[in-house]
């Protein structure tokens, strides 16, 4: 492929793209910068961009005042727990659909996707009342159950698209060579399925971590994950830009890093392999 572009054009493109990229990233950058300012400097006008007195006191304050760690743990347990539960339920199903498809397989897949179309608000009231009556309101198990169910269609779809790419002939060949079913699963299938399962896990942890409708409506304090904790800053007495920024930075940093690592899978996963 011959390079048809001049160096000058490449330089121009670089400048434009970097400007646009930094503009889109700016709110995140600004949040991180503000988290290292004192409250006075955080609201100073004109705003100080880099030349301010760097401090980490906001981070210490956030934890000492509000038990940030407890909310972090809630987020971690809920997003990991619901993703693992969804995987356990979805792996056999996706496996069956990929390797033993029937005439109805496609309909089943489409139906599963269609359950995602149901607006959560259509289910909010019953779920809220059931949870209230069974004591699941504001508990981690309650949120794990709900997030598992809302993740399930996406997890099944993603796994299905990954599994479908494993050629069935390899399995047949292994069977011909006299591999037992157990050996076939352990030595042939699993190694080929692991990358797909890992990508699914990663993406769904990200989605569950950021899920806000159910976490905001089904928790108050005990099981509140970071989404709900951060929302509590919208009350007037919580308005401290430095602390708000520190809490926000800590809430988004792990997922941002995870997301950057999984950006390639993100495309395949979220589009069910329709875009490659």
């Amino acid at each position: 492929m011959a390079r048809r572009y001049s160096a000058r054009r490449e330089l121009a493109m670089t400048i434009i793209a970097w400007t646009v990229g930094l503009a889109i990233f700016f709110p995140i950058l600004w949040t991180v910068l503000t988290s290292f300012k004192t409250e006075a400097e955080a609201v100073a006008s004109p705003p100080s961009f880099l030349f301010f007195h760097w401090t980490t006191e906001n981070y210490a304050e956030v934890q000492s005042r509000s038990n940030y760690l407890a909310h972090f743990m809630n987020s971690a347990v809920i997003s990991l727990g619901s993703t693992l539960a969804a995987l356990v339920i979805a792996i056999p199903a996706a496996w069956a659909m990929a390797f033993s498809p029937t005439k109805r397989t496609k309909d089943v897949l489409m139906w599963m996707l269609s359950t995602k179309m149901m607006p959560p608000v259509g289910a909010l009231i019953p779920v809220y009342l059931i949870f209230r009556d069974t004591g699941l309101l504001d508990t981690r198990p309650g949120l794990v159950i709900v997030l598992t169910l809302i993740n399930l269609p996406i997890v099944t779809w993603m796994l299905y698209t990954y599994f479908k790419e494993i050629p069935g002939e390899i399995l047949e060949a292994a069977r011909m060579d006299g591999a037992s079913l157990l050996k076939e699963i352990v030595y042939v299938l699993t190694p080929m399925a692991v990358p797909g399962i890992a990508s699914t896990l990663l993406l769904n942890v990200i989605l569950a971590w950021n899920e806000a409708f159910w976490t905001l409506n089904l928790t108050t304090s005990e099981a509140a994950p970071l989404t709900a904790f951060i929302a509590s800053y919208s009350s007037p007495e919580g308005l401290f830009y430095g602390k708000l920024s520190a809490a926000s930075t800590m809430a988004i940093a792990p997922i941002l890093i995870l997301g950057w690592f999984s950006q390639k899978q993100l495309v395949r996963g979220l589009t069910f392999g329709a875009v490659k």
Binding site: P92, T102, T115, T156
Partner: protein, 290 residues
């Protein structure tokens, strides 16, 4: 090679997944439908009684409903418009040869991973705040009157915030599609004398059609039920200016404890989503033919 044996095994393996989703779909929906026909307020327990279509009548004739319906569609439409057009532009830009392409890509996709409550709060306080916000400072340094974004143009402000969150997604998907375009095809078109614009219209755009479909489908699912961004920024206000259907039902149920009315609203939201879904499922069903 599917024998009778493997087929029943397959059915068994699918059972938990199918049954759970079936339950998740049917039980809450059936209960919502049932509640929607009751006069049912959590503050007055024991007074539930059959109300016929009164809840629907109340909900559908409430002026707030029409505002919420319009707002729901404006949010979906507005954000889709910004993210699809912006996504195409950004994908074309990022596809050009440049220095540090990988880093720019990382900068551009970052907002997608920011949780909605964080992005809402950050935009609300640090950018759109009429006193301390950066936008106010920028306006002020040009000698302009700062805009009180969330008070004077609440819906637009919310659309901007949500579009910022979703632009990375469409950019990433469209860029991936763009990079799978055969370079030779473009070169051939150029040899035949096609300009940049006609190459884009006749070759690049059709190639991206499927990716655009996917972007529209997935975003619509999420945008129809936007909630956190509204709760954190405007709380639906001023008045109901930035209330969407999801938020309207939420206020009815969990703030006014009117379970009957809220359930009727929930069913209306489900019907609306299904109308949209019928079109979308057909579209993607065609496009996903693997």
């Amino acid at each position: 090679m599917a024998t009778l044996h493997t087929r029943s095994a397959a059915r068994l393996m699918m059972a938990p997944s199918v049954l759970l989703l079936l339950a998740w779909m049917i039980i809450p929906l059936a209960m919502t439908i049932y509640f929607s026909f009751l006069r049912y307020n959590l503050l007055m327990p024991g007074t539930e009684e059959f109300a016929g279509l009164a809840n629907y009548q109340y909900f559908l004739t409430d002026p707030a409903f029409f505002t919420a319906l319009a707002n729901t569609l404006l949010i979906v439409g507005g954000v889709l418009l910004i993210t699809v057009i912006g996504g195409i532009a950004l994908a074309l830009l990022l596809d050009q040869p440049m220095y540090g392409q990988g880093i720019v890509r990382i900068l551009v996709i970052a907002p997608f991973f920011v949780m909605p409550t964080v992005s809402a709060l950050v935009w609300k306080n640090m950018f759109m705040n009429p006193v301390n916000g950066l936008f106010a400072w920028i306006a002020g340094s040009f000698g302009l009157q700062p805009i009180d974004w969330l008070a004077s143009v609440p819906l637009l402000s919310i659309i901007i915030i949500i579009a910022w969150q979703w632009l990375p997604f469409s950019t990433l998907i469209l860029l991936t599609a763009l990079q799978s375009l055969n370079e030779e095809q473009k070169e051939a078109a150029e040899m035949d004398g096609a300009g940049a614009i006609s190459t884009f219209i006749y070759i690049v755009l059709p190639h991206m059609a499927r990716a655009i479909t996917v972007v529209v489908l997935i975003q619509t699912i999420f945008l129809l039920s936007v909630f956190a961004e509204i709760l954190v920024t405007t709380n639906g206000g001023p008045g109901v200016q930035s209330t969407n259907l999801t938020f309207l039902v939420y206020t009815q149920a969990l703030l006014q404890f009117d379970i009957g009315g809220a359930s009727a609203g929930g069913i209306v939201a489900v019907v609306l989503a299904n109308i949209v879904a019928v079109f979308l499922i057909r579209l993607i069903g065609k496009n996903l033919e693997a």
